[in-house]
Symmetry: C2
Subunit: 314 residues, 2 copies
């Protein structure tokens, strides 16, 4: 299949490599001429503009940062193929692409490095790749086409609505980036903090090294969900602060810490047995909500897995 990848940073560059490795006919484009040169030197066909890149392609994958997306979408006027994206917020992108053949996606494969130079074909092997599915409004054929492409690269395709995606990534990715930033900011307080920081500090702050503009675009693009989840977690931290004021702070803290300790030890969940899932929007959304994912697409039947136990249920 002929596929265009627009934007050749860490994610777009890795997607170009992975699709090529899976045998697809890929063409890339990046607004930065030096990135285009890098991709050409790596042996890829690279166009000099969005229109040239997508001409004749069955799929156009937009791998540009959220703030750039509107101008790239404007360049797609006249393109009749299927469009997908990789940005970390799905509601606003769904609205931006309304009226087009579009299925939103989001690979959970970020890292603190960036740029084509950091890209690799294996980045998505085993990674969860959200592929948005709305009870009304998604063309199931388009969804299956992309699910086949992505599972063909080794990704675990997770079917969820844009709204469910945005709430959940605020929880497991966007707010963790803000937490990491305020923890890392403590390095400014004293050189001693830098000397005593060990494992909990190293891991708890790793993603704070992400470029501030990327983290801000990610969180700002999902502002409603991030604000709500952040407020909820600030409430939990405040409860922990109150426990520290109690007569026996240790006894008061234990019940606040115990559920998280048990949940984290049980994460990631072990996959259960392989299942066959019909190509049905409601059945696929139920799979996603139960923590499951699609591993392969065979015509109109899908192969999936879900966690072995329901211990993550509330």
């Amino acid at each position: 299949m002929r596929i265009a990848v627009i934007g050749l940073g860490l994610i777009g560059g890795s997607l170009l490599r992975a699709l090529a490795a899976a045998g697809h006919d890929v063409v890339g484009f990046d607004a930065d001429p030096s990135t285009r040169d890098l991709a050409r030197e790596a042996g890829f066909r690279v166009a000099d503009g969005v229109r040239e890149a997508v001409a004749g392609c069955a799929v156009a994958a937009l791998a540009v940062p959220l703030p750039i997306l509107p101008e790239v979408v404007a360049d797609l006027d006249g393109y009749g193929g299927l469009v997908t994206d990789v940005t970390s917020v799905k509601g606003p992108v769904r609205d931006l692409l309304a009226g087009r053949r579009f299925v939103g996606g989001h690979p959970m494969a970020g890292r603190e490095t960036s740029g084509f130079a950091a890209s690799e074909a294996g980045l998505f092997e085993g990674c969860a790749w959200v592929l948005c599915l709305e009870p009304h409004g998604t063309d199931l054929g388009d969804w299956l086409l992309l699910a086949g492409l992505l599972t063909g690269m080794g990704a675990r395709v997770v079917p969820v609505t844009a709204a469910e995606h945005d709430t959940t990534v605020a929880q497991v990715s966007h707010v963790p980036h803000l937490f990491a930033a305020v923890l890392a900011g403590q390095l400014g307080a004293s050189p001693l903090a830098g000397a005593l920081g060990a494992g909990s500090f190293r891991d708890g702050t790793r993603v704070a090294a992400t470029r501030a503009e990327l983290t801000a675009a990610m969180c700002g693009g999902n502002r409603d969900a991030v604000r709500d989840e952040l407020a909820r977690l600030i409430g939990e931290l405040t409860r922990m602060g109150a426990a520290l004021e109690r007569a026996d702070p240790v006894e008061a803290l234990v019940p606040l810490l115990q559920p998280a300790s048990a949940l984290r030890r049980a994460w990631p969940p072990r996959p259960g047995p392989t299942e066959t899932i019909p190509a049905d929007i409601d059945r696929l959304l139920e799979l996603g909500r139960s923590g499951g994912w699609v591993t392969a697409v065979n015509g109109t039947e899908l192969v999936g897995k879900r966690p072995e136990t329901d211990r993550f249920l509330p």
Copy 2:
């Protein structure tokens, strides 16, 4: 030198192994008979009580959890050797040991596993080990004896006061454990969170797997500093939440995230050249405050290093 290690969990067990590997004559004790059996099976001499363990030892290292420390200290009545400890709070322990030959310590080498079975001789190789030093009240000879023992195991000995230690570890270790717990607690909200959690979630929550009782004892034992630092960081998270409400949330967030991003990329700092430091309490405390550490003790002269640059200074 003959040294007793009381408490043979991850830290105590590793200390027993590391001191033995450095050629010392070690004896261990643990209140749990099955842990004593494990240590004996590993080839160590293990006493059946605290008094028996410390008899004739030049140093007694207490590696028990903070809540147990008072009863172990009571068992030291009549012991005239030097006492040290490894607990993660130093002010309360200094007060508990007042009137004894005592120098408080804290290796920054925790991990989410625990118990003698997880111990290893190399745990402290290159790790920062706080060794408390008070302008009035620490016997410098005792401090140098321990600094020599610890640097002999490959630890970087950081000289700081108990108060400076308690504030700094609240920042770089205790509050990060609370942050990890509230992030991991989100796994209870939906199975989807467990499916979409990727790198930022994995690392940001790693230490949430620590036993709740240990995290509670650590934070509760350092309640004043943890409460203050937690309140300060809740304030910063609240400012980020307010930035998300602004007309341009991305623009509002960037300046809040940028310092942390730069600080984290520059961490850990590269060590500067080796220095000779006189055995002087004020000079040693200055070394610790500048982010430096002792790497060796040669009689009354110490060898140290500090960060190559002062970019962590406010």
